[in-house]
Amino acid sequence: MARQLGLVACHVCALVCHLTDPSRSAHCPRCAAKLHRRKPQSVARTWALLLTACVLYVPANWLPIMHTGSLFGAQSDTIISGIRYLWESGAYDLAVIVFIASIVVPLAKLIALSLLLISVQIHWTWQPLQRTRLYRALELVGKWSMLDIYVVALLATLVHFQAVASITVGSGAIAFGAVVVLTMLAALSFDPRLIWDTTETDG
């Protein structure tokens, strides 16, 4: 491991540099970026962002993200009732896509990141490769949760025929957008190298 040899990879240009005294600040000789052995306060920052996302997950699913007004009366939709509507109207493929992007992905991110953090904090040595793969998958799928925000924005812009039908955005959209951004920030501030640090200390 680079760390045990007093070496560190620059996070901007990937040059391997000497970092013998981590208490003093050092800079990359090639691109002048500040060198860090690991992302700074990775565990604390990731927990903070993750817990905020957990709190906001409740209003994100509780509050309506869309209000529909039409000749047949007014209706408010949360994320789940929107998916149920899609399913009942026969658009099964669409319902599954939206369900995965809006429900499965955010929930999986919250659970998986918590597991990764706990596993690092209790110095778990079990299956570091699988845990690294889990982290990579999280980074990859995170942005797809934004789907519902775009759909609501497009529907609200297109559907405004005063008497016949009109759609406006609900306050749940703010909470949901915040959950997506916060879980993405949480994944970015987690350092996967921490997973491997514990496996090597005794070796």
Partner: protein
């Protein structure tokens, strides 16, 4: 000396760099993360893709993405129009999120990429290119053209129950933009830029 080494960004394993055949990539022996790639083609390719993407970006934003017809009345929207609607409906945060992820981040990414790559192609480094390389790295996860394209398709199907939906020029341009941006980033590897610069430096030394 140290430049022959590479530390895996995912598991910190220290390894020797090896020369790669064009079109192949080096993976970490322990966690199989992609360490660096050697694209099949020269630096010209990401430049060509990025220039194409800039042209498509302008078209995609200038023309409506979707139009809707109900009882002889028609509404249509561009991407900016959708962001403005969020602002008008008292949701400035949602407007900023839509604008940031579909307009600002992709546009900054393309401009920064061209600013770094085109002068480099002619053996020059522009001032502030280190800051821009870092900017490229930071904004990459926040550019979400492909998610927006899926959002467009989902909206299209959803609205079909309600009225006649007409896909606009903007929609097609967004699909093409999605493909060209993927091609631009797939043929560009930040490690290659630093390698290129190291090669320029040694060439200068020889001269």
């Amino acid at each position: 000396m140290l430049s022959v080494l590479i530390a895996c960004h995912d598991c910190d394993l220290l390894q020797y760099k090896i020369a790669l055949a064009p079109g192949s990539s080096a993976r970490c022996v322990r966690c199989s993360a992609t360490l660096y790639r050697r694209p099949r083609h020269r630096i010209d390719y990401p430049i060509a893709w990025a220039i194409t993407a800039v042209a498509l970006f302008i078209i995609a934003n200038a023309f409506p993405v979707l139009s809707l017809q109900i009882q002889g009345r028609e509404t249509s929207t561009t991407l900016l129009g959708a962001a403005l609607t969020m602002q008008d409906q008292g949701m400035p945060l949602v407007a900023a999120l839509v604008l940031g992820t579909t307009v600002i981040a992709p546009a900054l990414g393309l401009v920064a990429m061209l600013y770094v790559l085109i002068p480099l192609r002619f053996g020059r480094l522009m001032p502030g290119f280190v800051a821009l390389t870092r900017l490229l790295q930071t904004i990459a996860p926040w550019a979400m053209i492909e998610v927006f394209v899926l959002g467009l398709l989902v909206s299209l199907v959803k609205l079909q129950h309600l009225a006649t939906v007409i896909p606009g020029i903007g929609l097609w341009a967004f699909i093409a933009l999605m493909l060209t941006s993927v091609a631009a980033t797939a043929t560009y590897d930040p490690h290659l830029i630093w390698q290129h610069i190291a090669d320029l430096d040694t060439a200068d030394d020889i001269v």
